[in-house]
């Protein structure tokens, strides 16, 4: 399968997914760590892809949504941004609302 199709399936197959360096348990980048922490603190389950373990995704993810850096956080199939935006949304309380809505929508769609 083409790498962009593979990314598309991951993004659309999970209500919330973070592409990060390392894992939420063992992050290998401070920006990835903070973004994953914000997702964890929101209390909503989320999927993760470790880009350091997948060279193809590491190379091609930046052109999937035309975003040059990691981490990238997708909610309900759309890029919400990287670490800075995720932390701002978390601080304002919007993040939890967005994540819960995405999870509820996915559950309804079954």
């Amino acid at each position: 399968m083409d790498v962009l199709e593979r990314i598309d399936q991951q993004v659309k197959g999970h209500p919330v997914v973070i592409y990060m360096k390392g894992t939420p348990q063992f992050p290998q980048c401070g920006f990835s760590m903070r973004a994953a922490q914000a997702l964890t603190e929101s209390g909503v389950p989320f999927a993760h892809v470790n880009v350091l373990q997948d060279p193809e995704i590491f190379e091609h993810l930046p052109r999937y949504a035309d975003w040059p850096t990691f981490p990238q956080i997708y909610v309900d199939g759309e890029l919400i941004g990287g670490c800075d935006i995720t932390l701002e949304l978390h601080a304002s309380g919007e993040l939890k609302t967005m994540l819960e809505a995405a999870v509820a929508k996915a559950a309804e769609a079954g």
Binding site: G30, F31, L52, F58, P68, T69, G82
Partner: protein
């Protein structure tokens, strides 16, 4: 001209910022001295008024496109309108610690 100077002049010309910080934070990361790879940008501009966070970041990423293609690895972006900047007490959040990801592989962050 250093990357720091190029970024500063590009953002000054295109965003007409009321306040601009272009901080080279590369020394906090696992890169050689003088790498100019990791930056923190604080941009306060009227141009952001009425724009979502992702739109603001996309605008800034686009202005930095050439730099990303030529070795810029991470840009923490804090983009505010003048009113938001006042509300935040004229302070942007600190950047996170490294954790080694950029040493594992070059290519991206934030």
């Amino acid at each position: 001209m250093s990357r720091q100077a190029r970024i500063r002049s590009q953002l000054t010309a295109q965003m007409q910022p009321e306040h601009l910080e272009v901080l080279d934070e590369s020394h906090q990361h696992a890169v050689p001295p003088g790498a100019e790879s990791h930056f923190k940008l604080v941009i306060v501009s009227d141009a952001f008024t009425g724009q979502t966070l992702i739109k603001r970041h996309r605008t800034v990423n686009e202005l930095l496109r050439t730099e990303f293609e030529q070795g810029l690895h991470a840009a923490a972006i804090h983009a505010f309108t003048p009113a938001e900047w006042q509300e935040k007490g004229a302070q942007a959040p600190a950047s996170p610690k490294c954790r080694g990801g950029s040493k594992a592989k070059l290519g991206a962050a934030a």
